[in-house]
């Protein structure tokens, strides 16, 4: 498969890009932020997403979805990134779907159709501290009665306070097990925190939460592989969103270089800025190609996907970070103002960069996967 969008994918982009730009531009984020919105996203917008079939893009057709791939989901995520659109698409439509579809079984049958129909928001309760360390999950699931009892603390759970279900990764006797914990389960407390990018992420406390045996996603002790599927999809999705954030910031900045005058010249005439902008262009192009490669390998079910996913998260993280930093710097004083959008790009990038493993985490993973 060539590494560019085919005709169907290009058509998808042509319909999604104007839709997101019109319905949820940066001003939409500002509106939610300035009205201290307590949900973290617009349910009206999610209903529009649903009309276009977006929440169910990755859901298999047998479960009422479109059965598309990560390349297609990435197209949507890039536009979400470019417009800084607050949306549960990444956690619900990508991460949760990847886990449920990989596991199959009761929970897949229960939740995949609900995601595709836009009824269910799903949160991912993986992290337990300020850094992403999925190999050190301390939350426990112990057998109790007919099912399990969950105890532990989760953090950085996006949409955790409004999700209809949370996928909780917990330690069981023989490994990791994933659980579908419904919103109303007794003993679950979600404490939402406003993050730097105005999104809401919860600290979730699981205090003797009792779930039935069929709350297990897949098989008991066999959650490691499902968690890997969830992480690979979410990381690749976050990388695609970062490409959108970085591209949006870069486009804004390059336009600014063509408008702003100092010393009687457009500042874009100065070679000191031209070379930095050109360097950034290269980094963004490489990041885009890398993310597409990871999407392609995931869609092919290739063994090489895991390495490329970490490469993509790290590379997109570096490139988008450069884009937003150069963006603020090249905008000068106005880049420091809340009124101007470039700062919002910097904030969003910081949150996405941290989500599901930062640059350093993934660089380390690349070393490990290469035997050092």
């Amino acid at each position: 498969m060539p590494l560019y969008h085919n005709d169907d994918q290009a058509m998808l982009k042509d319909s999604v890009a104007p839709f997101v730009a019109e319905q949820a531009p940066v001003s939409h984020l500002r509106q939610l932020r300035d009205s201290a919105d307590a949900t973290g996203f617009s349910r009206d917008l999610w209903a529009q997403f649903t009309e276009m079939g977006l929440p169910g893009m990755l859901v298999p057709e047998a479960h009422g979805g479109l059965g598309m791939g990560h390349m297609e989901a990435g197209i949507v995520l890039e536009e979400i990134g470019r417009n800084l659109t607050p949306s549960p698409f990444l956690s619900t439509g990508v991460g949760a779907v990847a886990a449920l579809a990989h596991a199959g079984g009761t929970q897949a049958g229960r939740w995949l159709p609900a995601i595709a129909s836009g009824e269910a928001i799903v949160a991912l309760a993986i992290d337990e501290g300020p850094k992403h360390r999925p190999d050190r999950i301390a939350t426990t699931a112990t057998r109790a009665g007919n099912g399990f009892r969950l105890d532990g603390k989760k953090s950085f759970v996006l949409h955790g306070h409004v999700a209809d279900m949370s996928i909780v990764a917990a330690k069981t006797d023989g490994g990791i097990t994933l659980f579908a914990v419904p919103k109303d389960a007794k003993g679950v407390t979600a404490d939402p925190r406003r993050l730097v990018d105005s999104s809401l992420a919860s600290h979730v406390t699981l205090d003797g939460v009792e779930v039935d045996a069929d709350a297990v996603i897949g098989e008991v002790d066999a959650g490691g592989e499902i968690l890997d599927a969830l992480l690979a999809a979410t990381r690749t999705g976050a990388a695609a969103e970062m490409v959108g954030v970085g591209q949006g910031a870069m486009d804004m900045t390059v336009n600014y270089l063509k408008e702003r005058k100092q010393f009687g010249k457009l500042i874009g005439e100065f070679q000191g800025l031209q070379h930095r902008a050109a360097h950034l262009y290269g980094e963004m192009e490489v990041a885009r190609a890398t993310v597409m490669k990871a999407q392609q390998l995931l869609d092919e079910g290739s063994e090489g996907a895991k390495l490329m996913v970490s490469v993509a998260k790290a590379k997109a993280g570096r490139a988008a970070n450069l884009a937003v930093r150069e963006g603020v710097q090249m905008h000068g004083g106005i880049g420091m103002t809340d009124e101007y959008d470039i700062g919002l790009y910097m904030k969003r990038d910081r949150a996405l960069a941290e989500y599901m493993g930062d640059v350093h985490y993934h660089i380390d993973q690349v070393a490990r996967m290469n035997g050092y």
């Binding site: 060539p2 590494l3 560019y4 390059v254 270089l257 063509k258 010249k265 457009l266 874009g268 005439e269 070679q271 031209q274 070379h275 902008a277 050109a278 360097h279 262009y281 290269g282 980094e283 192009e285 490489v286 990041a287 885009r288 190609a289 890398t290 597409m292 490669k293 390495l307 490329m308 970490s310 490469v311 993509a312 790290a314 590379k315 570096r318 993934h362 660089i363 380390d364 690349v366 070393a367 490990r368 290469n370 035997g371 050092y372």
Partner: protein, 393 residues
């Protein structure tokens, strides 16, 4: 089975039957590379057998049309051919500036007669070409070149000098930018072809910081060039040159620029040893190598995307400049890490154990990557102007 799958099988079987075992070993020395030409001495029988087998199939230039010595493969077939070559680690049967540079210029700008006349000997490895572009006073500002060809009716008399002519001392013919109109900067250059054995041509190797001399100074003293030996139009050689520079960057982009596209840390872990946790036993170097590996794997994806887009006309025409810039900077970084990883051993300049200071010399050689074929700074200028459309660039 699709046609392409069938083609893959055919190539695989042909390679299995025709590529000698010695030609599947990594390139170790300069003389492992087959450059062809009048005076080329094959290192061993396998090198000659491999060349002859490829020449017979048109596989030295697989994507050139058959009448010019190629195999007439489509872009998809060429990609498969390259994949299959790589799969068995087959060496390139023939490397030359004729294949990389002059060939594409002839294919685009040459007459039918010229194509048949010049391309076939290139494909067969009979004539080795060198490139006469830069001059002592014209580096990045190439169009200011001064080597002059005076019109004498049926021939030109060429005087001047070129610099950085790769392997000029070993080449049979040169393709050369010569000023034929002093009044017209851009439309006053002719793309000439002539024999290096012509009277008045002399070469002098340039000793580089690596201790090697892959480049020469080349002097022209009343060299007579028949007025049939040019490509394109008289005084419009700059069009050919620009096309070739773009092609050169594309070629660098397609393969060479990132250097060896494998994990650097994996290779060094063997030499360094690992700690109890199985990590390279130098945490800061490990981190730098891992960060570099991320960029290498990322660039590999970029290379794939670039070629897929380039061959189907989807790429921005100036994007090869970005590829050249990113790839060459990456290769320089690789060799800095190779030196760090090698420690004091890598500093040895001529010992047998280091294969004559291969690492040190290789490291120094890579410093030219971001100078030759257009400096990194020129690449950034081109990106700023042609891709980002920045003002006054």
């Amino acid at each position: 089975m699709s046609e392409l799958d069938a083609f893959r099988t055919e190539v695989r079987e042909w390679l299995e039957a025709n590529c000698p075992a010695e030609m599947r070993e990594p390139i170790r020395d300069e003389d492992d590379i087959c450059w062809g030409g009048r005076n080329f001495k094959f290192k061993n029988d396998a090198q000659k057998l491999w060349l002859d087998a490829c020449v017979a199939k048109g596989y030295t230039v697989p994507d050139w049309p058959k009448p010019y010595g190629g195999a007439g493969l489509t872009p998809e077939q060429t990609k498969i051919f390259k994949q299959e070559m790589k799969r068995i680690h087959a060496r390139s049967p023939l490397d030359s500036f004729g294949i990389w540079m002059l060939g594409p210029a002839l294919l685009k700008f040459g007459t039918e007669e010229q194509k048949v006349h010049y391309l076939n000997p290139i494909a067969r490895g009979e004539i080795r070409w060198c490139q006469g572009y830069s001059e002592p006073g014209s580096g990045s500002d190439l169009v200011s070149l001064q080597t002059f060809g005076e019109d004498k009716g049926d021939h030109w008399v060429v005087n001047g000098s070129k610099i950085w002519t790769s392997y000029a001392d070993k080449a049979d013919w040169i393709f050369c930018l010569v000023r034929t109109d002093k009044a017209n900067k851009y439309q006053g250059i002719t793309f000439m072809l002539f024999d290096m054995e012509s009277k008045g041509v002399t070469t002098k190797p340039i000793l580089l910081i690596s201790g090697n001399s892959p480049f020469c100074e080349t002097f022209f003293d009343d060299v007579e060039v028949p007025k049939t030996q040019f490509i394109g139009e008289i005084n419009r050689g700059w069009d050919v040159a620009k096309y070739l520079l773009g092609h050169e960057r594309e070629m660098i982009s397609g393969g060479g620029a990132g250097g060896d596209m494998v994990s650097i840390g994996g290779a060094f872990a063997k030499a360094f040893g690992k700690n109890a946790a199985g990590e390279l036993d130098d945490p800061i170097l490990r981190a730098e190598m891992a960060a570099f590996d991320v960029d290498v794997f990322a660039y590999r994806a970029m290379g794939e995307r670039f070629m897929d887009m380039w061959k189907t006309g989807r790429a921005h025409p100036a994007s090869s400049n970005m590829m050249k810039y990113v790839g060459t900077e990456l290769n320089k970084r690789r060799h800095e890490l190779v030196m760090s990883g090698g420690g004091s051993e890598a500093l040895e300049w001529d010992s047998e154990e280091t294969k004559g200071g291969a690492r040190a010399r290789g490291w120094l050689r890579t410093k030219a990557n971001s100078i030759e074929g257009g400096t990194s700074e020129v690449m950034l200028n081109v990106i700023a102007k042609r891709i980002l459309d920045l003002p006054g660039a």
